[in-house]
Symmetry: C3
Subunit: 138 residues, 3 copies
């Protein structure tokens, strides 16, 4: 029998939407899920070395609540979402993919991306890896 | 044979994205689906008693169309999304969960939430309940 | 054995989120997936004849990067997302549905929509078509 699998198309680049990516990846990996993350568009920009140096942004719809939530997370010493992804990779079977089409749009090379990226693939390859499991678009 | 199942991670807090949560939950429950809703981040804030008293907000990207759509919904006497969730719970097997991590971020207790919340659970428990069905991130 | 199936609830109306709809539909159709697109809310507005004449908008959260990305896509002569959907329909088994409830909210008729729309259906019918495959909410 095939094991449990969670795949996420990480499209968004605001920190409020990247937090659940880290939390879901880490929770699923700890529960024995195979996890596949496919970073594309603004999500891919967020894991470029340049994007990772930028000030994290909260979705404009939730700006007022956002600063309060970020403050609370720091008080609670809650880990950054990138740290959650890195830790998930140590705990379980977690693969991180970068979208080849977006790399071309942004003119990025693999060495411009976070070190936790395993591979640069196209959408058909990602769909193949995700097949038969739960897939989310975030 | 296992029955049909629809699970939704309710992340967003704008009324335009909460409407489809109500519509999907109610349509799926009426069609005999087991439905699981997991409210987190801005979605959880939207079902806190304080959030429910606030003026509903439409996503800033669609502000102009938003007021027109809200007006049409009132003219049509379309039910509020929270009412759709409550009605879905009467019609079918619908469970509403609140995300424990977000409760901690916001300093919320179960009694601060809408009455249709069944339980406060972590992400691993939710993934377990959702396993084998269709899962959406809204 | 049932074949592979990808279904997308197309809720969003900004061009950055509609691009992946086109890319996913086209990649999946070329890989032999059955594809179902269900346009609702701002996504449905985007495929109304009036919406298709409007200037494409990028999500306000990514405005600065957006203009750069749109420029790159034009330089690369990347096809418009609507063209990707139309081409996907020629290549594979791709069905495009419009949400009946949203049609009513917006006061739209089938002849007001893009020509690639196959049918106007409700949420229960869509869930039925999507059953047993991968379903995304974009």
């Amino acid at each position: 029998m095939a094991g449990k699998k969670l795949s996420i198309i990480v499209f968004s680049g605001t920190v409020d939407k990247l937090m659940p990516v880290g939390i879901l990846a880490s929770g699923a990996a700890a529960s024995g899920y195979e996890v596949n993350l496919f970073f594309t568009f603004w999500g891919l920009n967020a894991i470029s070395k340049r994007g990772m140096q930028a000030q994290p942004q909260v979705d404009k719809n939730y700006e007022q609540m956002g600063s309060m939530m970020m403050k609370r997370m720091m008080e609670m010493k809650f880990p950054m979402w990138t740290q959650l992804v890195s830790e998930a990779k140590e705990v379980g079977e977690v693969k991180v993919y970068a979208c080849s089409t977006t790399m071309e749009f942004f003119g990025l090379k693999k060495e411009d991306l976070a070190e936790f990226v395993d591979d640069v693939v196209g959408v058909a390859t990602f769909l193949d890896r995700a097949e038969g499991g739960t897939t989310l678009f975030i």
